[in-house]
Every structure is written in structure tokens, then in C-alpha cells.
Point group: C2
Chain length 96, copies 2
């Protein structure tokens, strides 16, 4: 049974990976859009309170099996990518 | 307009965060399951070739706006969590 079982699980894993890829990029687009709105408002883009609120919501909805520390670590990495993308956009705006 | 616009975008971002949370944990469950199947087969759990194949598929499907290096970085972090979880499971098995 087992190679078929393993192949099936691996196919599911690939599918989850692609859904994650899609969501991570979708998230980045939203962060870019938020950056543009904030820029129009002349508001500072980095907002540690908002980051805290996002993490609290994630924590409240987390059920495992990963431990919370690992989840927070991953999300902080994902948050960082969003911020870097906003910085790139800002640099592009400054260059033109 | 803009506070309403910002709130709407932030709600969408929270929603994407929770979808990501769900998928990251779902992925971890699959990795645990794969670990159990491999253990039954007496196969080594860490498989660098499989990791390469997963990254290749991700790369082939990536369209941005994040750059590929950032995407790979995040996925490598996500892969690490899965491996650590398998190690924990193995330790638990060894303790009983």
C-alpha cells in the first residue's frame, strides 16, 4: 500500500504548497495596496501596533499541530517580506 | 474615503493571514502523516531530493509580486518547521 499512500500524501502537500504560494503573493499585493493608501494619507507605513493586532488574531485562531512560537516566527518572516516590498515601491516612487 | 479603504484592505489582510495559518498547520499535519508512513517503511525522513522537487514546483508556479528569493526563503523556513515536528514525533516514539 505504502508507496501509493506516500504519493497521495505528497500530492496533497504539493497542493498545499501551491495554495500557500498563491496566498503569500496575494498578501504581498494587499500590503502594497495598503502602502499606497497610507502614502496618499502621508502616514508612516510601518505600524508596530497593527503588527501586534495581526499576531494576536493569529494567536487566538491557532490550534496546532505547530507550536505557537513557530507560527509567530513564520508570520514575522512573512510580515518582513511585505515591508521590504513597500520599501522597494517607495524607492521606485522616489526615483521617478 | 481612505480610512474606510484602509479598514477594508486590513480586513482582507487579516482574512489572508488566517487562511495562511490554517494552511501552514494543515501542511504540518500532512508532514506528520508522511513521517509516520516513512517510519513504517523504515525510510529516512529527510529527503533533500523531495525538497528540491517541491521548490522547483513552487518556482514554476510563482508569478510575484514577491521576488523568487524571498519566496524560497519563506518556504525553506516552512519546510524546517515540518522537519522539526517530525523530529519531535520521533522523540516521543522513542520515549515510550
Amino acid at each position: 500500500m505504502s508507496n501509493k499512500e506516500l504519493d497521495g500524501l505528497r500530492n496533497q502537500l504539493d497542493d498545499v504548497n501551491l495554495q500557500l504560494l498563491h496566498l503569500i503573493n496575494q498578501r504581498a499585493e494587499l500590503v502594497q495596496e495598503i502602502g499606497r493608501v497610507k502614502e496618499k494619507q502621508g502616514v508612516n507605513r510601518y505600524d508596530p501596533v497593527r503588527e501586534r493586532t495581526m499576531l494576536d488574531l493569529i494567536e487566538a485562531n491557532h490550534q496546532g499541530p505547530l507550536d505557537l512560537g513557530s507560527i509567530k516566527h513564520i508570520f514575522k518572516e512573512i510580515f518582513k517580506l511585505g515591508l521590504e516590498l513597500q520599501k522597494d515601491d517607495q524607492k521606485k516612487t522616489l526615483l521617478v
